[in-house]
C-alpha cells in the first residue's frame, strides 16, 4: 500500500513538473523510459533467477497457460463493446479498438490515429487516439495499484489479465508479489501473445 502511494505520488509529481517545467528537461525525458524499462527488466530477471525456482516454474507451464490471453482478449472486448452504449460519439468498433490496446498506450493510440484518419478525418481520429492513450494509461495504473485487490478477490490470474501487455514488463514485479513467483511464466506468455494481438485487433476494428 505504501509503495502504491509513492507510485501515485511520483506520477502526479511528474505531471506537475511536466506542466510547469523547462522544455529542455522534457526533451531529455523522451528516451529515458526505454532505458529505465531495460534496467527494470534486467533486475526482474536477476531477481527471478537468483531466487531460483525456475525448474518448478517451467513445470507449471501447461497448455492452459496459452488460454489466459484468449480470456483476457474476449473479456476486454466484450466489456468495451458494452461501454459503447454509454458513449454517444463513438460506435462499438471504436470502443473495441480502444479496448484492444490492452494498456499498450503508446502503440495503440498511434495506430488508432493512423488507421482512423482516412475514415473519420484527422481531428476525430486524434480525439479517438487521445482517448485511447488516456484509457490505456489508466488501465496500466489500475493494474499497478489494484493487483493485490484483484488477486485476493478474483484469483491469481486476475492481476495478469488486467495488466494486459504489461504483464511481461512494468507490472511483472507486482504480479509476482501478489500471485506468487510461479505465475511469472504465465505472465510472460500472456504479455507476448497480447503484444502480437494489439496491432492485429486494432487494424481489424478500425476497418469495420
Amino acid at each position: 500500500m505504501k509503495s502504491n502511494l509513492i507510485i501515485i505520488g511520483s506520477f502526479l509529481a511528474g505531471i506537475f513538473c511536466g506542466m510547469f517545467g523547462n522544455e529542455d528537461v522534457v526533451g531529455y525525458c523522451a528516451d529515458a523510459p526505454m532505458w529505465l524499462l531495460y534496467a527494470l527488466i534486467i533486475q526482474v530477471g536477476l531477481n527471478i533467477g537468483a531466487n531460483g525456482e525456475i525448474g518448478a516454474m517451467l513445470q507449471d507451464m501447461k497448455v492452459s497457460v496459452f488460454l489466459l490471453p484468449l480470456f483476457t482478449i474476449l473479456g476486454t472486448l466484450l466489456f468495451s463493446a458494452m461501454a459503447s452504449m454509454l458513449l454517444k460519439t463513438w460506435n462499438v468498433y471504436d470502443c473495441m479498438a480502444i479496448g484492444s490496446g490492452f494498456a499498450y498506450y503508446s502503440l495503440s493510440s498511434l495506430l488508432i490515429v493512423q488507421f482512423k484518419e482516412a475514415a473519420i478525418g484527422l481531428e476525430m481520429a486524434t480525439q479517438l487516439g487521445t482517448i485511447a492513450l488516456l484509457a490505456n494509461i489508466i488501465r496500466e495504473m489500475l493494474a499497478l495499484f489494484g493487483a493485490p485487490f484483484y488477486a485476493s478477490l478474483f484469483g491469481k490470474y486476475a492481476p495478469v489479465s488486467v495488466a494486459g501487455i504489461n504483464s511481461m514488463d512494468v507490472c511483472l514485479p507486482v504480479i509476482s508479489r501478489c500471485s506468487g513467483k510461479s505465475i511469472v511464466p504465465v505472465a510472460i506468455v500472456h504479455g507476448i501473445i497480447l503484444e502480437i494481438s494489439v496491432p492485429l485487433l486494432i487494424s481489424l476494428f478500425c476497418k469495420l
Binding site: 506542466m19 529505465l36 533467477g49 480470456f71 470502443c95 484509457a135 489500475l142 488486467v162
Partner: protein, 94 residues
C-alpha cells in the same frame, strides 16, 4: 519485445548463476525505486503534452469509463479462467 525477452532471459541466466550472491536476492527494493522513477518521468512527458492536459476534462471521463470496462472485463474473464483452468488441474492430479 525481442529486446525485453532477451534482457529477461539474460537477467534470469545471470541471476541463476550468481544466486549465491546475497545482493541479488534483495532486489525488490531497487525494482520499486526503478518503477518510481519510470512513472515520474512518464508523468513529465504527459504533463508536457499540452494536447492531453487541455483536453483532460473532455476526454478523461470517456477514457476512465473505457479503462474501467476493460479492467472489469479482464477481471470477469480471468475469474472464469481461474475456475476452469484450476478445476482441470485438480482433475489431472487425481
Amino acid at each position: 519485445m525481442v529486446m525485453i525477452l532477451c534482457l529477461l532471459c539474460i537477467g534470469i541466466g545471470i541471476g541463476y548463476l550468481c544466486r549465491r550472491v546475497y545482493i541479488l536476492r534483495k532486489l525488490e527494493s531497487t525494482i520499486s525505486y526503478t518503477i518510481f522513477i519510470m512513472l515520474f518521468i512518464f508523468g513529465i512527458t504527459i504533463g508536457a503534452d499540452k494536447n492531453i492536459i487541455n483536453n483532460i476534462g473532455n476526454f478523461g471521463l470517456q477514457a476512465v469509463l473505457l479503462a474501467v470496462c476493460g479492467v472489469l472485463g479482464s477481471l470477469f474473464a480471468s475469474y472464469l479462467a481461474y475456475r476452469i483452468l484450476s478445476k482441470k488441474g485438480d482433475q489431472n492430479e487425481k
